[in-house]
Each structure stands twice: as structure tokens, then as C-alpha cells.
């Protein structure tokens, strides 16, 4: 695709790192492939609060990104929901051009999730991946006390580890890359810390094709 916008919706504090990892790794891979790429967080969603919805953005383009200095992805081609309940919460596909992709981290099937998706005619595919199970996710995300203290900060201030995608972001990145081809597998895989979950996700995706876009 010549110009692609990717928006990740995630929950503040406890899953904020996942969102950042997804957009940063995809942008970095795109740069490594010689494309133009930009990654940033939504400015007004931060500083994030626990469970608050926050957005991360990524833009990938073959030519220079001339709308770089704008605040939001107005027309996201790919939307990722890091936490499944957000499917009920917003019109996250607002502005999506036809032929878009929606990726959700959930244990439910696309059949079940579809009822919550507003105006799914915008979508070409709905992808569900049980990222929490694939990453062998130990903590329930409202048991804050069980999280490592280095995750409990806003905008990642207290993070010690520099690892990219050590947890549930890895299967989500695999899902995005596999179903959209926004970057190449071989470029992004070396960056991912949780390679096992990344690989496992590739065969555990539930993809529901919806409204294809005629070329």
C-alpha cells in the first residue's frame, strides 16, 4: 500500500506499553525497509490513567509523509484493539476507508465479536487473536498489584526493560503483519522479544473476511 495509517487502541498504564510497542516496531521495520514511517501517541490521551482508552498511531508511506505534523490518524486503514471490551466503546473505525482491517485481542470468535462492531461494512476483514493466551499472560489486567512495578507508570516512565513486545503485543503484531502485509515478516520478527508468541500467533488467527474492496 502506498500510504497506510494504523491506529492502535489500548488501555492506559496496564497495557500502554503494548500499544507503543506495536506502532514503534512497525514504524521501525518500515524505516528499515526504506519506506517513510512515523509513530506517535495520541497527544490528548496522555498522560494515561489506568484502563483509560489511549491511542497510538503509525503511518507508513512509500513517499514522504507530508501530513506528519497532525494529531490523529483521520483515516485508519488498520485498527487494533488491544483489549477486547473496547469493541463496545467507540466508533474506532471512524474515517476508515473501505477495505480496512480490524484486529482484536480476544478469546471470542469473530462471529461473536461482530455484533459489537459498528458499521462493519467498512471492513474487509475482522481478525481475532487470543493474544493473552498465546503470550501465556499471567496477570488479569485489573489485578494491578500483580503487575511488575515497572509497568505501573504513565507514558512508560518507570519502565526498566527496553524489550519490545515481551508480552501480548507480540501476537498482535504478528496478526497485523500477517493479515495486512504492512511490513515484511523478516524485517519485524528480529525486533520482537517474545518470539514464541509471535510465531504461535501466525497459525492461531481467526480471520473473518467481510466486504472485499474491488481493486
Amino acid at each position: 500500500m502506498a500510504y497506510t495509517e494504523l491506529t492502535v487502541w489500548t488501555r492506559g498504564i496496564i497495557m500502554d506499553k503494548e500499544g507503543r510497542d506495536i506502532v514503534n516496531s512497525i514504524a521501525a521495520s518500515a524505516r528499515n525497509e526504506g519506506k517513510f514511517a512515523q509513530a506517535m501517541e495520541n497527544y490528548v490521551d496522555n498522560p494515561d490513567r489506568t484502563n483509560c482508552p489511549t491511542r497510538k498511531y503509525c503511518r507508513v508511506s512509500d513517499s514522504e509523509i507530508e501530513n506528519a505534523l497532525t494529531y490523529e490518524n483521520e483515516n485508519p486503514n488498520i485498527v487494533v484493539l488491544v483489549e477486547q471490551t473496547m469493541v463496545k466503546g467507540w466508533d474506532y473505525m471512524r474515517g476508515m476507508p473501505p477495505g480496512g482491517t480490524l484486529v482484536i485481542n480476544t478469546q471470542y470468535t469473530p462471529d461473536y465479536m461482530l455484533r459489537f462492531v459498528p458499521k462493519p461494512e467498512r471492513l474487509a476483514q475482522l481478525v481475532c487473536v487470543d493474544a493473552a493466551k498465546l503470550a501465556d499472560h499471567k496477570w488479569l489486567y485489573y489485578r494491578l498489584g500483580e503487575l511488575g512495578l515497572d509497568r505501573l507508570s504513565t507514558e512508560g516512565a518507570a519502565e526498566r526493560s527496553k524489550a519490545v513486545a515481551p508480552d501480548i503485543a507480540a501476537p498482535l503484531i504478528a496478526a497485523v503483519v500477517k493479515t495486512t502485509g504492512i511490513v515484511k515478516m523478516e524485517t519485524i520478527e528480529p525486533m520482537i522479544a517474545n518470539k514464541a508468541a509471535f510465531k504461535a500467533a501466525l497459525s492461531e488467527l481467526h480471520i473473518m473476511p467481510l466486504n472485499p474492496v474491488t481493486a
Binding site: 512515523q38 509513530a39 506517535m40 498522560p47 506528519a68 505534523l69 516512565a157
Partner: protein, 402 residues
């Protein structure tokens, strides 16, 4: 003060705030005075991580407020420490009392400013008003338009400000969000290069029990004039130093910046945008597209505003027929009823025999992005003025006029 830093050059993807923090790390600052205010907070967090990880050996002091922050900076610098601090928006103004004492006592404190609109109400978006409101306080001041430039400007500012011929504090400014929070590629140097470029900080009269001195005593009014004259001399004396150090930077790091102005497609331009900061990035795209449609438009981006490059601005702007000053700041009640940049541009051009038409655009207020359509509209206004031979009015409000 030796620290563990990376041993080779590398390219990283970081945002402007982290770039500023990296610059402070490469400059091996001694004292960091911090107080959180968004968007500068990201720099504060990055520095905290570096100090906690042992990457940077510095005293990290979280102050009670911005006023306290700058007081700490003043004190630390007076003892001979290389100090790094920063703020945004109303925080910059809260510390106002300290700006004149710091520059007047010739303490080369470095302050990173990530711009933010002043209250009311609460708005994180970028306007330059807060830093510009301190422009007469005697600090060196200039704007970067991306993370790389921010990093480079910080390093150069240490060298310039600490130069024994200058000894002035520096405000290295960048637009909040557009520069501070968007990640782009940034080449980080080899520490050896930085070592070559930046000698240690040495103040001639630090507070030292072994050689006691008094800083900032009480004076009589008659001692005022010479002291102020000295301050003015210092600011003027910075001009050749700035040029010299930009040359040295280019020699060592391979990146050459014009210290005062970036000119973009100005060779045969008839109308130009005169601006500072991140909107120059979008301006370049807009200019290319308009040129493809036949408009003779260019951009002059001011990199340093203090000391004001009067001669350079006069020499540059006098080449054009129309100058549109893009004001991303509020100068309420100013001579143009608009922003603060217009008046100084016009004053710089006053002595020039062939003066261009000069007027201003209020754009990007509150941190709103300036979209291409608006650049087209502004260009049209300049072309119309050129055809008419005179300006319509001194200030246009972009997006709110026909």
C-alpha cells in the same frame, strides 16, 4: 563524572524530548533540576531513567515548582556545575523571576522548552508565547524543527553558552507534540566526537569556599548603567561565537546549519513565509507543491531569535517582494494586533532602502496543525498583496477569514 555511554555512532528513532535528554547525557551534565509539566515531562522521565540505569551520572533534583527548579539551576551553575533544566507553557512563566538573575550573573544554565499554549484554559498544543515572553531577559534562544535539530542545537548551545566570551544561559525550544512527541530518525554521535566538541564547563568565579566571592550584591543606581552595558555587550558578543561554533560543529559532526536562518527555495522566490519552529516542515511540502503549480514561493525559517540576527534578517528578507510572518504566538495588543515576530522583522527591515511588504498570519494557534490548504490560502494572500502593491492589513487570522 565519567559515565558509561555507547561507544559508537548510531541512528535511533526518538522524539524531540528524548533527543533533548540524549543531548544532556552526551554533554554529561552534572545537575538536572526537574519539575513535571507536559510536554517537557517526557524529557524529565527519560533523564530519570538514564540516571536510574547508571547511564548518566548526575544529581537529579525534583524541585517544588518551576520557580524552585530555576533557583536550583542558578545555584548549581554558580558552583560550577553544568546544569540542565526545562519546562513548558505556564511553567516557564512561573520561573520568571529567575531569568534575569541567571543571565545577569552570567550562568550558562541550559533550559529545554517544549512549547505549550498558555492558560486559559488547559491546552497541551504548541504555541511559542511562553518562551517568547522571556525574550528580553538575556537568554540565548532558538527553535528546532525536528528531533535531530533539537539534539544538535542542545549540544551547540552548551558550547556557545559556556564559551568564556559569552557565558549566557540558553533556551533551546521545540514545538510541543510536533517535535517533542513524534518519533523521527536521529543520528547520535560517537562520544569521542562530543568530547572533542564540548570542553568541560568552567566559570571564572564560581562559589567555592577556597576562593570566596559574592554573587549578586546590592548596588547603587549609578552602578546600574555599566552592568547593563556589560550584559548587552555579552549578548552582542555572542554573535561571532555562534557562527564560529556552528562551523566547528559542521567540521566534527558533518551537519552544517546556518546559525541564523534556513532558507528554502528562496533563490527566485518573490513571496516568502517567515517563521520559526516545526511548521517549517509542513511549509516545505506546501512550497514544493505550490512551486509545481507555478507560484514563486519560499520560506525563511529563523533558527536563532536571541541574539536577534538583525543584519541577516535584513539581508535575507530584502530579497523578496512580500514577507508573510507566520505567528504561532500571541502578542496581545502588539503593534500588529497579532504576534511578536512581526515587529522585529519590520524593525530589521526599516533601514533597508528597498523594503518588501510585510504582514503576518496568526496560524497554528493553540497547537492546531497548519494544513496545506492554509498554506495555499496564505500564499494567495501574499500574491494578492504583491499584485496590489500594498497590504490588506497587518495581521490575518488563518481559518477565520475569506
Amino acid at each position: 563524572m565519567a559515565t558509561e555511554v555507547a561507544k559508537k555512532k548510531k541512528t535511533v528513532r526518538i522524539n524531540g524530548c528524548v533527543a533533548s535528554a540524549q543531548a544532556a547525557k552526551y554533554a554529561d551534565v552534572d545537575v538536572i533540576a526537574a519539575y513535571p509539566i507536559r510536554p517537557y515531562t517526557a524529557t524529565m522521565m527519560a533523564l530519570a531513567q538514564m540516571v536510574a540505569n547508571g547511564e548518566l551520572d548526575a544529581e537529579y533534583i525534583v524541585a517544588d515548582s518551576e520557580h524552585s527548579q530555576l533557583s536550583i539551576a542558578h545555584g548549581a551553575s554558580s558552583c560550577g556545575a553544568r546544569v540542565f533544566t526545562g519546562s513548558s507553557g505556564v511553567g516557564v512563566q512561573f520561573a520568571y523571576e529567575l531569568y534575569s538573575p541567571i543571565s545577569g550573573s552570567r550562568m550558562p544554565v541550559q533550559m529545554m522548552i517544549a512549547d505549550r499554549t498558555l492558560d486559559p484554559p488547559g491546552d497541551f498544543g504548541s504555541e511559542h508565547t511562553e518562551a517568547l515572553s522571556t525574550r528580553d531577559m538575556g537568554w540565548l534562544m532558538g527553535w528546532s524543527c525536528d528531533a535531530q535539530e533539537a539534539f544538535d542545537n542542545h549540544l551547540m548551545a552548551f558550547r556557545i553558552g559556556e564559551d568564556p566570551r559569552v557565558l549566557l544561559p540558553q533556551m533551546v525550544c521545540q514545538d510541543g507534540f510536533f517535535v517533542s512527541h513524534i518519533t523521527t530518525d536521529c543520528d547520535l554521535p560517537d562520544p569521542g566526537q562530543v568530547k572533542e566538541f564540548l570542553p568541560p564547563y568552567k566559570h571564572p568565579y564560581p562559589l567555592d569556599p577556597r576562593r570566596p566571592v559574592s554573587h549578586g550584591p546590592q548596588i547603587m543606581p549609578e552602578q546600574g548603567p555599566p552592568l547593563q552595558l556589560e550584559r548587552a555587550r555579552a549578548m552582542e558578543g555572542a554573535v561571532p561565537v555562534i557562527e564560529e561554533i556552528h562551523d566547528d560543529f559542521a567540521r566534527i559532526f558533518g551537519r552544517r546549519y546556518n546559525p541564523w536562518l534556513e532558507e528554502y527555495m528562496t533563490d527566485d522566490a518573490e513571496v516568502v513565509f517567515f517563521l520559526q519552529g516545526a511548521h517549517g516542515v509542513t511549509a516545505r511540502h506546501a512550497i514544493r507543491h505550490m512551486r509545481a503549480r507555478g507560484a514563486k514561493v519560499g520560506m525563511v525559517r529563523m533558527r536563532t531569535i536571541r541574539p536577534y540576527p538583525t543584519e541577516q534578517v535584513a539581508a535575507s528578507l530584502s530579497k523578496f517582494k512580500v514577507v508573510g510572518v507566520i505567528e504561532t504566538n500571541m502578542g496581545l495588543g502588539s503593534v500588529s494586533s497579532g504576534g511578536s515576530l512581526y515587529a522585529e522583522a519590520v524593525a530589521a527591515l526599516y533601514e533597508v532602502p528597498q523594503r518588501p511588504l510585510v504582514f503576518s498570519f496568526m496560524a497554528g494557534m493553540g497547537g492546531e496543525a497548519i494544513v496545506l490548504k492554509e498554506f495555499y490560502w496564505m500564499t494567495n494572500k501574499m500574491i494578492e498583496a504583491q499584485k496590489r502593491g500594498k497590504i490588506e492589513k497587518r495581521t490575518h487570522w488563518v481559518g477565520f477569514e475569506e
